[in-house]
């Protein structure tokens, strides 16, 4: 949204109680009316009537996301300051949705019966195309997770994208998974020391898969390496759900952030 439109939005809200956005889809325009809480009060498709803006020239697509097997969540990762984005499983017309992040606030939109959940944290943002229905708890947990981002650049951060995509895929079964994921997100870029002996001896059923993940990175490793060692969605969920417990039992100890971020080779 440019300054003029934003002022218009503010003015409409104070005058009418709602404001209408237009989404340019080339052959038609979607009009979405939003109230002061940024909830959609009406949506309709209209013939094209506004001058089409060349959104794509303002935003630059960066590297493709790191694919996670069996994950089909549709997400746009954006950096609002750098005007860069990365799309995961989204398909065409992603640019039409970029204005949704301009307000700088997390919000839920419904366009043509499809939900779009927008999360903003500083310069970073993401838009999730929801196939499931509205869940306030899940939305709030995802917003909380997204607000735990440190100094990262979401469109180019593979580890973060892998965590987020895994959460979106598995959160239907466990809406709290987003909160667990926040714990590992806040440690991205740090290294951990792993007490593998005690973990292996422990009668707590961490499970062989998790122990394999931990063992594969050695006794000291970047958190990012842990994330990439978890191969499938099941392993990722296990890692995300166990990370807090491993930390709280001092079975892994987080060390200070050192050097540059680790990337999979």
């Amino acid at each position: 949204m440019d300054d003029y439109e934003y002022e218009r939005f503010q003015g409409d809200i104070s005058e009418n109680g709602f404001s209408t956005f237009s989404f340019d889809h080339g052959d038609h325009v979607l009009e979405v009316s939003i109230n002061a809480d940024e909830q959609v009060v009406a949506a309709k498709a209209s013939p094209w009537r506004f001058k089409r803006r060349d959104v794509s020239s303002a935003w630059k697509r960066v590297q493709p996301f790191f694919p996670v097997p069996n994950v089909s969540a549709k997400v746009l990762f954006l950096n609002r300051r750098k005007r860069t984005y990365c799309d995961a499983n989204w398909g065409d017309e992603s640019q039409s949705f970029f204005p949704l992040v301009e307000s700088g606030r997390s919000a839920r939109y419904v366009v043509d019966g499809v939900e779009y959940w927008v999360f903003v944290s500083g310069e970073n943002a993401m838009i999730v195309k929801r196939s499931g229905g509205w869940s306030e708890d899940l939305f709030n947990h995802l917003a909380s997770m997204f607000s735990s981002l440190g100094l990262v650049d979401v469109p180019s951060d593979f580890a973060l994208q892998k965590v987020i995509l895994s959460v979106l895929e598995a959160s239907a079964d466990d809406p709290y998974l987003a909160l667990d994921a926040a714990r590992i997100i806040e440690d991205l870029g740090k290294r951990v020391e792993i007490d593998l002996d005690l973990i292996t001896l422990s009668p707590v059923p961490f499970g062989g898969d998790l122990i394999d993940i931990l063992a594969s990175v050695g006794r000291e490793a970047p958190v990012d390496a842990l994330i990439f060692s978890a191969s499938g969605i099941r392993d990722m969920v296990k890692l995300l759900k166990s990370y807090r417990l491993l930390k709280n039992l001092n079975l892994i100890r987080v060390m200070e952030r050192t050097g540059s971020r680790w990337h999979p080779s």
């Binding site: 466990d174 709290y176 909160l179 667990d180 007490d195 005690l198 001896l201 422990s202 009668p203 707590v204 807090r244 417990l245 930390k247 709280n248 039992l249 001092n250 079975l251």
Partner: protein, 352 residues
Amino acid sequence: MAPLLNPFLRATLYFKTIQGLGKVWGSRKIAHVMYTNYVITILEKLGVVSFLEEPRSYDEIKTFLGPVERENLLKNLLDVAVRSGIMAQHDNGFKVNYGEIEKLKDLKKRFTQLKDVDAVYRAAERYLSKTALEILRGKSKDRGSPEVALTYYWQENNRIFNLGREILLLLGGKRRLKGKTILDLGCRFGTEPFLILKFLDFDCSLIAADFYSTIIDECRNAEVNVDGTVKRLFDLGNISFLTLDPKVEEPFPLDDGSVDVVYAFQILQWYPSAEKIVEECARVLKDGGLLLVSTPLKKKPKVTTQDVFFSLVGGHGGFTVEEFDALLKRTGFTRVRAFSSAFIRAEKRSRT
């Protein structure tokens, strides 16, 4: 400390215990077998049992175990080993008594109740023996140390522990506890606060408190099943969380006279500052408020196998019945009643 006077409540508690365990818990014999077997496991894993096939002097044992800094603890360990019969002391030193060890191991198998504390035996075999050695060598450990916390995490859903928790609640009385502000002191990882909430049909305001922020973090995030829906403990309306200073140098962050009930299950024996903890309980309780405590009490002041075991895994020791009775009275409690040798109910004396 008077025994429980209310015959109906006494019968209820005995019934509950028998229902849960098949026989009455509180038998000092079972506790003796349990704690002596813990100590046997640790001594075996440390190689002390094999080492003492031949008589060895105290100094030889000390040398065998490495640079022992906590000599009193080693002396107490050998003393209880001799008193419990697993070692014999002759003029030429200490010698293992295999016959008594086998007998105690056999008794452990026969007490089916002890299957429920198998977690501790396995932890003793796997890593608590190493912890014990580190403690003898002067390293500091407590409830927040990974090995100890891990053992307790593993025990969260232990049947005996949960039975004990319920008995302590019954000692308080469901009707008396409902609708009240309850401080769960030493809430651990979440099982206990949820058990309290369920027992009271979620009709109370519960403050879950522990001495480590990491334990409170786990407690807050504990998964609980409410009417078929999996939730996290922090998402239930009537519970709040507090982290307390483990040295109790800082008072509990609660106002004077702000809670109706303090519930402290198997926590005091972990802290050398137990007296300060009880003083704080008295301060935060309202006049006439209820203190519900479960902690192992012993008959005589001498060091027991149980005391030694707790010391070897980072804890403190137990009180005698008289010591604890005197402590409660000194800190302003009255109408002290006990059930079995480990469950105590007391009321804060009213100032009026």
